[in-house]
């Protein structure tokens, strides 16, 4: 099935914009944040114009409507990723917050905090395993947790062609391992990781598995059961939805046994002056007024992606990646990071250019209307692994075209000419 990209583009008003003195926008930064279709923007407007109220506690019709919108989004999100039911879906601000939620729940359990079981207690000698290709948001919370609990952080290395080095699995994952956290898809290399294989090894060792699915859920069908995940995070703004809301999915029995992360309104069962008891999940993890309109927007985004079809989006992006890898392969001095096989990749391609710094590449591209990202993409250790300081990343989504890939390649040529002779 091929996408009608011309029709899809009409749904995204921003794609008609001109930038930098009349250049048509070529938006190749969707791994950073995606653009939003009219359907999502209209849902946000509709919520504020017709249904706005606080949820769960307003005793009036608008409160009922707002609550229905918010809880309806939870049901939609649960179905979207194959959760057992919506009580397994915790709304967060973003994936970073979802990962921190799990890390702090573990730390809080270790400190003996009430509201969970002792199952998540960590001691010195326990190990947490991550990978060298993680985003900082799946590195730093674990470093901090290890600091607080005395647990040890270990990690999978990556191979020269950007795959996880699974030859290390049996040494890394052992009876001391308590949690394994990894990206479903690298935000730099584009590599789609064999989560199931790692998860099976983790489960055999009695560890739980957290999957950072920020880069995969927007672009391909993802089923938490098939992946063998115990926790999985994704974020609305990378999948055509608004910023400010994300999802942490967790197996119900785990969420029940975890102590809370943030305390406040709505997450309690009962409060006395000297102690409290807590609501069952997911509400135990949702303190204070949540992003309600954003939940409605996420609901609309899931509808939008489901209507287009995640399989069709994945197929379209595979075509674009294949086309882009071929086209970039013709540029002298250009080195693509990550796997050369399009099937092993998602929709992000990071590269370096001999003699032109990524910041300068992106500046020239921007001058021609081509929006990419330059830097370490919040994956500094990964860049060090490849002996580079930074890279330029082009990332694609359902609305991108091969003509836009051509514009990218042309812009790279212009950057090379401009900085030529350096």
């Amino acid at each position: 099935m091929t996408l009608d990209v011309a029709r899809i583009r009409k749904d995204f008003p921003i794609l008609d914009r001109q930038v930098r003195d009349g250049q048509p926008l070529v938006y190749l930064d969707s791994a950073n944040t995606s653009q939003k279709p009219r359907q999502v923007i209209e849902r946000l407007d509709e919520f504020y114009e017709r249904h706005n109220a606080n949820i769960h506690r307003a005793s009036h019709q608008l409160g009922e409507e707002a609550t229905a919108a918010y809880e309806g989004a939870r049901i939609k999100a649960a179905g979207f990723i194959g959760a057992r039911d919506e009580t397994e879906v915790v709304f967060t601000k973003n994936v970073s917050e979802g990962i921190n939620l799990v890390a702090y729940a573990l730390g809080n359990a270790t400190a003996g905090q009430s509201g969970g079981s002792g199952r998540f207690r960590l001691s010195p000698g326990d190990e947490i395993v991550i990978t060298e290709m993680e985003h900082h948001s799946n590195i730093v919370p674990w470093q901090l947790l290890c600091e607080r609990t005395g647990a040890t952080l270990r990690w999978f290395g990556v191979t020269d062609d950007g795959q996880l080095d699974l030859s290390q699995t049996s040494q890394l994952i052992n009876e001391r391992t308590r949690l394994v956290a990894l990206a479903h898809q690298s935000n730099v290399l584009g590599t789609i990781n064999p989560v199931r294989e790692v998860a099976d090894a983790a489960h055999a060792a009695g560890a739980v598995v957290l999957v950072d699915a920020a880069q995969s859920v927007p672009h391909m069908p993802v089923d938490v059961q098939e992946l063998g995940a115990d926790f999985l995070g994704f974020t609305s703004h990378k999948m055509c939805g608004p910023t400010g809301i994300g999802v942490l999915w967790g197996r119900r029995e785990l969420l029940e046994e975890m102590p809370p992360f943030l305390g406040g309104g709505e997450m309690i069962e009962s409060v006395w002056m000297d102690h409290s008891t807590f609501a069952p999940p997911p509400h135990k993890f949702e303190a204070g007024t949540m992003p309600i309109a954003e939940a409605a927007g996420l609901d609309a985004a899931i509808d939008y992606l489901t209507d287009v079809g995640l399989d069709a989006i994945r197929a379209h992006e595979q075509d674009l990646i294949g086309y882009a890898l071929d086209a970039l392969g013709t540029v002298p001095g250009l080195r693509v990071l990550g796997p050369s096989d399009p099937a092993a990749r998602g929709a992000a391609i990071a590269f370096t250019l001999e003699d032109v710094h990524p910041h300068d590449v992106s500046q020239v591209l921007d001058e021609h209307g081509v929006a990419v990202r330059a830097g370490h993409h919040c994956a500094w250790p990964l860049h060090r692994r490849y002996g580079i300081q930074a890279s330029t990343r082009a990332s694609f989504y359902l609305y991108n075209t091969t003509a836009e890939v051509d514009a990218l390649v042309q812009g790279i040529g212009q950057a090379q000419r401009f900085f030529g002779g350096v």
């Binding site: 930098r20 003195d21 710094h357 990524p358 910041h359 300068d360 500046q363 020239v364 001058e367 330059a374 830097g375 370490h376 500094w380 860049h383 300081q389 930074a390 401009f418 900085f419 002779g421 350096v422």
Partner: protein, 152 residues
């Protein structure tokens, strides 16, 4: 064209042929600064001397990894401040910072900033201002440390 207003020939020249690059001995203080946004790094050394009762920037040397703007800026800076008294160099750093914060509205004084005026275009690109300031910030930090050492 806008690109040429950002990447003026002076900047490209300093980028291609940086002055005072490469770490030198002896030195009074060494610092390592990074731009956490993009990963640009600079290691910078300063040597002060105090012949006339006022500390003078005797030498600045550096090793840097980064974009054309950060590289050229470190080169231009070392050209400008070596040989100046520390108060003079600090006031140049302030002047350069003012230029970077001007959003492109200020006409810089070439008498004061020399080749530094070429960076006026950078002020219009918020994402690049930190690149231009990386070397300057490192120098200010290193100089403060060197002065502290002298006091000890």
């Amino acid at each position: 064209m806008r690109l040429e207003s950002l990447y003026q020939e002076v900047i490209l020249d300093h980028y291609r042929h940086p002055h005072h690059k490469g770490l030198r001995e002896p030195y009074d203080a060494e610092v390592h600064h990074v731009n956490p946004l993009c990963g640009d790094e600079v290691t910078l050394r300063v040597t002060l001397k105090d012949a006339t009762g006022e500390p003078v920037v005797a030498d600045v040397s550096y090793d840097a990894l980064g974009c054309s703007i950060s590289q050229a800026s470190a080169s231009v800076m070392s050209e400008l401040i070596i040989g100046k008294t520390v108060p003079e160099a600090m006031s140049l750093a302030e002047e350069f910072l003012r230029l970077m914060q001007s959003k492109g509205q200020t006409e810089p004084d070439e008498e004061v900033l020399g080749d530094g005026v070429a960076f006026a275009g950078v002020a219009k690109y918020p994402a690049r201002i930190k690149c231009a300031l990386l070397g300057w910030m490192a120098w200010k930090d290193a100089t403060a440390q060197a002065l502290e050492e002298q006091d000890d």
